[in-house]
């Protein structure tokens, strides 16, 4: 996967860190100090669509077949997360109980073209 840098137009991962202290949430979220809310952005021209390893998804196989037979019919390809991990939180709930939980698929680690 590619991390966006400079004025890259191609599909890549944009890093974005939300600091809980900056948004005034550090009093009720004990750990961690922030949330890596990365996201995918950029273009997926057809020649990049479905290149194995860029977007390990079942769309890849289908699109390869479409391209092999009739490129015009191929639908647009999208820049999507291809690898994600949970966000582990230790926080106070409304009764000041302390709760630990892992919210699945909250952090994008890699992006690719479908």
């Amino acid at each position: 996967s590619i991390d966006c840098s400079g004025d890259s137009q191609m599909c890549c991962r944009k890093e974005f860190f939300v600091d809980f202290k900056e948004i005034g949430w550090e009093d009720w979220i004990i750990q961690p100090e922030g949330y890596h809310m990365n996201y995918c952005a950029g273009l997926c021209p057809l020649h990049m669509a479905g290149i194995p390893g860029l977007a390990a998804s079942f769309h890849t196989a289908v699109l390869n077949l479409l391209k092999a037979n009739n490129a015009d019919a191929a639908v647009d390809s999208c820049c999507v997360p291809t690898q994600r991990r949970p966000l582990s939180l230790l926080y106070y709930d409304r009764d000041s109980n302390i709760v630990k939980t892992d919210i699945p698929d909250m952090i994008v680690d890699a992006c690719g073209c479908t």
Partner: protein, 232 residues
């Protein structure tokens, strides 16, 4: 995207950087609150002291290691038959006691469980941790009653009663899983624990509510699976 068709990511890119940042922060807040089933960020009235939190986490770890060794499980905290990737969100909840009414022979403690979690999770297990402060040598009988509100919510019924013989000061644990489960299933929010002792003992708990020895309930819960309809 083809001309004229709005593309979500491009839309963001078209915004001014400060606006873009505000949009992303608002999205992050909304995403975290919705995944925690919270309508808004909680306002914390009485944060737990660091001492009490660290002591509670240490006690829970010690308890889990003891249990693992006694059941021959790997005591690295992993659950052998728990298949990773089942993707069901799990919660560990630490609820510290609120002082309730007390007499010369009894003391009441209240534990509250939030509506959001109660409505969207099922309790896997719950343990009450008490630190005894004994008045002297010998054994001291204690009756532990778990009370929960009846259907009218006006009175309390005894959900369970346990008699303990306390010989020395220190931590003791009691399984309260069933009581907390029935609380959650009734959508109720408060478990009351009543400790009754002999006349001459006074308070069975550490006097002065020493923070790092304050009673707590540690519960493990799992998000309720949405009801799946099998289609044939």
């Amino acid at each position: 995207a083809p001309k004229g068709v709005w593309c979500p990511a491009c839309g963001l890119a078209a915004l001014a950087p400060t606006t873009q940042r505000d949009v992303l922060i608002a999205l992050a807040k909304q995403s975290i609150l919705s995944k925690l089933h919270l309508p808004d960020r909680p306002n914390i009235t009485q944060p737990t002291s660091r001492g009490a939190l660290l002591t509670a986490l240490r006690r829970m770890r010690a308890q889990r290691t003891d249990m693992a060794i006694s059941q021959g499980m790997p005591h690295d905290g992993s659950i052998p038959n728990w298949h990773p990737g089942m993707g069901v969100q799990e919660y560990e909840i630490l609820s510290f006691a609120e002082s309730g009414s007390s007499t010369s022979r009894s003391v009441r403690l209240h534990f509250r469980f939030t509506g959001e979690l109660a409505g969207s999770t099922e309790i896997l297990q719950a343990t009450l941790y008490l630190f005894w402060a004994v008045p002297g040598p010998g054994t001291h009988p204690v009756t532990v009653r778990l009370l929960q509100p009846d259907l009218t919510g006006l009175n309390r019924t005894v959900a369970s009663e346990t008699r303990l013989e306390v010989q020395r000061a220190g931590w003791a644990t009691l399984d309260v899983g069933r009581a907390v489960q029935s609380l959650f299933s009734q959508g109720s929010q408060r478990l009351t624990v009543e400790l009754e002792v002999a006349e001459d003992w006074g308070s069975p708990l550490l006097a002065g509510h020493s923070d790092s020895h304050w009673p707590f309930v540690a519960a493990q819960a799992r998000a309720r699976m949405p009801h799946r309809v099998q289609r044939r």
